[in-house]
Each structure stands twice: as structure tokens, then as C-alpha cells.
Amino acid sequence: MIRPHRAHPLWFAFLLHRLSGLGLALFLPLHFYMLSLAISAPARLDGFLRFTDLTIVKLAEYGLVFLLAAHLFGGLRLMALEFLPWSPHQKTMAALAVAFAFLVSTLFFLKAI
């Protein structure tokens, strides 16, 4: 379903960066709200934190950490592209960004379960 002119790796790198940013932006208000319960309703927050012990939630957190790491490393790739001398290894940089994101988020997940 991807239009033919978009079927190349650096377009997918763009899409990952945009969707990860969008996902994080949608997640943040919930994240901030839950944390603010630390003062207004700490027992409720504790209950919620126990709920996050479920494996399915840990898998969701795995995904979120991946989005964060992908957005970070992808963003560093973009700023290197823009402010450092041009590298002919654009696809490699994009691949490395995804690879590091996987490494970091998998480390998180393995520590979490």
C-alpha cells in the first residue's frame, strides 16, 4: 500500500521518525498525568504501577522505549546530516539508528521482565 515513489529506505526512516514522534507526543500527557498522581493520589498510582507488572504492559513499554530511542537516534542522524559534512553512508546511518534503538529497548525489556 506504499506508493511506489516512497519505496526506498530513507523514506521509511522519515516515516519511523514522524510516527515515533507522534506516538510519544500522544503518550506524554498520559505519562505526565500518572506521575502527578504521586502527590494527589499516591495509592492509585501504586495500584497502576502494580498493573504495569503484567507482561502485556511490559511489552507495551518495550514499544514505547523503542519509539523514544528510535526518535532520539533518528534525530541525531538528522542533525548530523544537516550540520556535519555530508556522509555518503545515509542508509547505513539510518540502519544504525534503528539497530541502536532495538538494542536499547531490548535491554530495557530484558531488565523489566
Binding site: 514522524r18 514522534g21 507522534l22 510519544l24 507526543a25 506524554l28 500527557p29 505519562h31 505526565f32 498525568y33 506521575l35 502527578s36 498522581l37 504521586a38 502527590i39 494527589s40 499516591p42 498510582l45 501504586d46 504501577l49 502494580r50 504495569t52 507488572d53 513499554e61 522505549v65 523514544l68 530511542a69 532520539l72 534525530g75 541525531l76 542533525m79 544537516e82 536499547v104 535491554l107 530495557f108 531488565k111 523489566a112
Partner: protein
């Protein structure tokens, strides 16, 4: 629709957040082990100027960065323009900053807590 100013704000907040994100992920990997509790979080952050500065600057930066990012998405993908686009951008900033500041305050200097 991004001009030099918005672009620079986006890149500057990104640079500010790079070390903060790395730090945040490191804390997450450390703290998630053995499960999370409110006590565990507050023991770390309550009364701490350092964490207040860390997460405080994180919230300021992400509010700007997220608002500009969503501005671009809403324009390019949803065709939002003109006054509506302006209102939307500021609303996103206000929401992220308002909720974020409340969260930072809640885990650092919001009284004795429990």
C-alpha cells in the same frame, strides 16, 4: 511552513534533550528492575534540586519540541492552516507544559507526600 526560527527552536530543544533522553532511558533501565513503586520513585526524586532541574528542563524542551512537531504533522497531513494551526500549536504547548510541570512538581517539591 517551518521558517528559520521554528526550525532552530526544534533543533535546539532536540540538542538539549539528547543527553536528557539518554539519562532518562538509563534511569528507566535501572529503576524498572524488580518492579516500580511510588515509594521507590519518590525516594529518588523527592526534595532533589538535581532531579527538578533535570526533569524541569526536559519538560520545557519537550513542550516546545512536541508542539512544533505536531504543528508540522497537522499542517502536512491534516491540512490545518492559519489561525487554527496557531491555536492548535499553542494548545499542545500549553497541555504538555502544564501537565509536565505538574508532574515534575509532584515528584520533587510537592510536600511530604505519603
Amino acid at each position: 511552513m517551518l521558517d528559520l526560527r521554528l526550525y532552530m527552536l526544534q533543533r535546539l530543544t532536540a540538542l538539549v534533550m539528547a543527553p536528557l533522553v539518554i539519562g532518562h532511558i538509563a534511569v528507566m533501565i535501572y529503576a524498572v528492575q524488580g518492579g516500580l513503586t511510588v515509594d521507590e520513585i519518590l525516594a529518588r526524586t523527592q526534595g532533589s534540586v538535581a532531579w527538578f532541574l533535570f526533569y524541569g528542563s526536559f519538560v520545557v524542551a519537550v513542550s516546545i519540541h512536541g508542539a512544533i512537531g505536531l504543528r508540522v504533522i497537522s499542517f502536512e497531513w491534516f491540512g490545518l492552516k492559519g489561525r487554527a494551526l496557531q491555536l492548535f500549536s499553542w494548545a499542545v504547548f500549553a497541555l504538555l507544559f502544564g501537565l509536565g510541570a505538574k508532574a515534575v512538581y509532584a515528584v520533587t517539591f510537592a510536600g511530604a507526600g505519603l
